[in-house]
Symmetry: C2
Subunit: 400 residues, 2 copies
């Protein structure tokens, strides 16, 4: 456990007034221009910040990120684009006054999350940025305040902090994420910002974050609604000597993937109204892509998700969801286990005690669904949350 | 309103014991071999009855249909196939004893609906078929009893009866459908049987039912889980003179499409736990297929469905669902109306009074979502139900 955030970064989190009470504005600033790489939503309807960040990353000249919660600044047209640029300009000039170094708006990334279709209260945001710049610090406490300020319906802040040794030197990585609803598995499904003091090249960082995202944030969902604002960003200092194949870099990639997975799993675990994390593992598909499609189809079935929340051993819903995934499968080779209990084998139902399966589901926070769909080499895994009446209540009344 | 069912058909519906109390077995028999055409689920995991019926239809030699509810006979392997054939054999021999005409099992269609993965109690089913054959009649009351017996979680039986004149002669069509959950829009999404005394050729009937299905049962959903047992079947007497292009046939096609749409809309209207029917209309897509994909993506979004059930004017969920449908759209040409109230125009939010939109949603049983996504020629419509806590409660505890 590190005693500080990565060297060269400062954090702040505070309440600026977008939300009635809770923290809603976070900053990350860097002591020197650093590498920033990102993975963004595939939604064609996207927030102003997505287009802004996409036009900037990958880059080696980032000086900061400003993040607001409570308002997605999505579907807000030209006004939204102007507001987004103004957020970047405001942080750039505040930093410039402090440092006497020229900082351009294009050296600042912007992330927004919250309600779609409303204009930002820019006076509050600008006052907040001015205040945050005076409060920022490299302490873990400041990092946790920033992580608090990016929450929307999340029950708790979602953070991971790690340190490790490389060639006798200590490095650190800290990550914060937010997300509990509007989580759909089509490339980066929430906000997540990672900072490290391990030096990287832009090329290495860009490859590393994509690999990590594919094994983590791209394998989770809550209800499958791909958001307008999803972003995963990694900040790191620039490597002076390029040693991409070093043991240190291999270790970093492994660690980055672990941190991303740990942060990603916090999202369906905290899924709106969720009482179970559901871990779906597919084997025997024709390809990994086919296995992934089956896993996602099962994960998005409300009937599967309600069966889990109710502890109902209604395994036909899992098998039938696989059947409409749109990829080939061999029914007579299908085999299903829920929490290790065999329910369907070689396409035939297996006699089982419903009360035993039901008790196992009810008493375990994670429900394992292991499905064999044939004898092919394709495997995949996916994590999602169950569906409860509380999810419906939360979302029936979100903006009103 | 006709005073009887179509000439040449008899119906029965009763309780045979698959369910604890409610009617669970229905028969339709024909006085002479008739035309049967069908449209079936696209699910690769499908019930024994689907394979059986698919191997038989389209045909001109059908003598009856036996339908059970309470058990889908799906994922039941070879035993399920034997049980399905036995249902057909049992009805065929009971009819043969009564009529002294040879009737083969292959002249009987079978439909099953209910829980997946359990074997049928064949002794009860066979006793039920024997009894039903003695109770059948051509009265509307018998038809309604049959319609009662195919229900599962449906609140009410779903029937449409019509008559019309053609060349001074009266013809009739009656249809029964069931479905309230596991309704996913991928070709015929429930059970529906239509019988008419209007004579048809196999070729005309087969085309007619596909056209009608595409504009009705293929445009509805509840939660989008494509069932293992979906079937839509039309029975009609064989036309002796082939006059497919006659005004009478054109009128029949129109009527068939109307009856299918009327029956189809009863399904999301009665969607499990539903409080609103949602009618989604898309304009301006590049093609009808693109428009359809956008409509379905919106229809399957739990966030859209919960916003409607809660009367929450959270229109960003509709627009963002369109954005991840996977087809092109022009954000700066997008325009959204909910219940005729303009909320988003030319990619910009329109100022509106949330309480007015909320009241309109709450006070109207059908919520209209009208979305323009560009200036292309593609249009589509789709009907779905909203998502409530009651849907979750119903489905969290279905088999236990």
């Amino acid at each position: 456990m590190p005693d500080s955030t990565p060297h060269g970064f400062r954090f702040a989190g505070l309440h600026c007034g977008i939300k009635p009470q809770l923290p809603d504005l976070a900053l990350i600033t860097t002591a020197a221009p650093c590498i920033a790489v990102g993975v963004y939503t595939q939604n064609l309807v996207r927030a102003a910040c997505i287009d802004w960040n996409r036009s900037i990353t990958p880059t080696a000249s980032i000086r900061g990120i400003v993040i607001n919660s409570g308002n997605a600044n999505a579907c807000t047209g030209h006004q939204g684009e102007r507001d987004n640029r103004q957020m970047a300009s405001c942080l750039a000039s505040a930093m410039q006054s402090q440092t006497n170094v020229e900082i351009k708006p294009e050296q600042i990334l912007v992330l927004s999350t919250g309600v779609i279709g409303r204009h930002l209260p820019m006076d509050k945001v600008e006052t907040g940025i001015q205040r945050a710049i005076t409060e920022q610090s490299g302490s873990l406490e400041a990092f946790y305040r920033a992580a608090e300020a990016i929450r929307t319906t999340d029950h708790n802040r979602k953070t991971v902090v790690r340190d490790w040794q490389d060639n006798g030197k200590t490095f650190r990585i800290v990550g914060m994420a937010k997300g509990a609803g509007m989580i759909g598995p089509n490339m980066a499904t929430m906000l997540c910002v990672l900072t490290t003091d391990f030096p990287l090249t832009v090329e290495f960082a860009d490859r590393a974050i994509r690999l990590a995202a594919n094994q983590s944030f791209n394998c989770i969902s809550v209800e499958g609604h791909t958001s307008t604002n999803d972003s995963l960003i990694l900040l790191a200092p620039t490597a002076t000597d390029v040693m991409e194949q070093s043991a240190g870099h291999t270790q970093f990639q492994k660690l980055l993937s672990e941190v991303c997975l740990e942060l990603a799993l916090k999202i369906p675990t905290d899924g709106e109204g969720a009482t179970h994390l559901i871990h779906i593992q597919i084997q025997g598909a024709n390809s990994a892509a086919d296995a992934d499609r089956i896993a996602r189809t099962i994960a998005l079935s409300n009937l599967v998700k309600t069966a889990v929340s109710g502890g109902d051993p209604n395994w036909g819903r899992v098998v039938s969801a696989a059947g409409y995934a749109g990829v080939p499968l061999q029914v007579d080779q299908m085999r299903l286990e829920i929490n290790g209990l065999l329910l369907f084998d070689a396409g035939q139902p297996v006699p089982f005690e419903p009360a035993v399966v039901s008790r196992s589901i009810r008493q375990t926070p994670t429900t394992s669904i292991d499905l064999v769909v044939g004898s092919g080499p394709g495997t995949a895994q996916h994590w999602t949350s169950d569906l409860t009446a509380d999810y419906v209540k939360l979302n029936a009344d979100y903006t009103t």
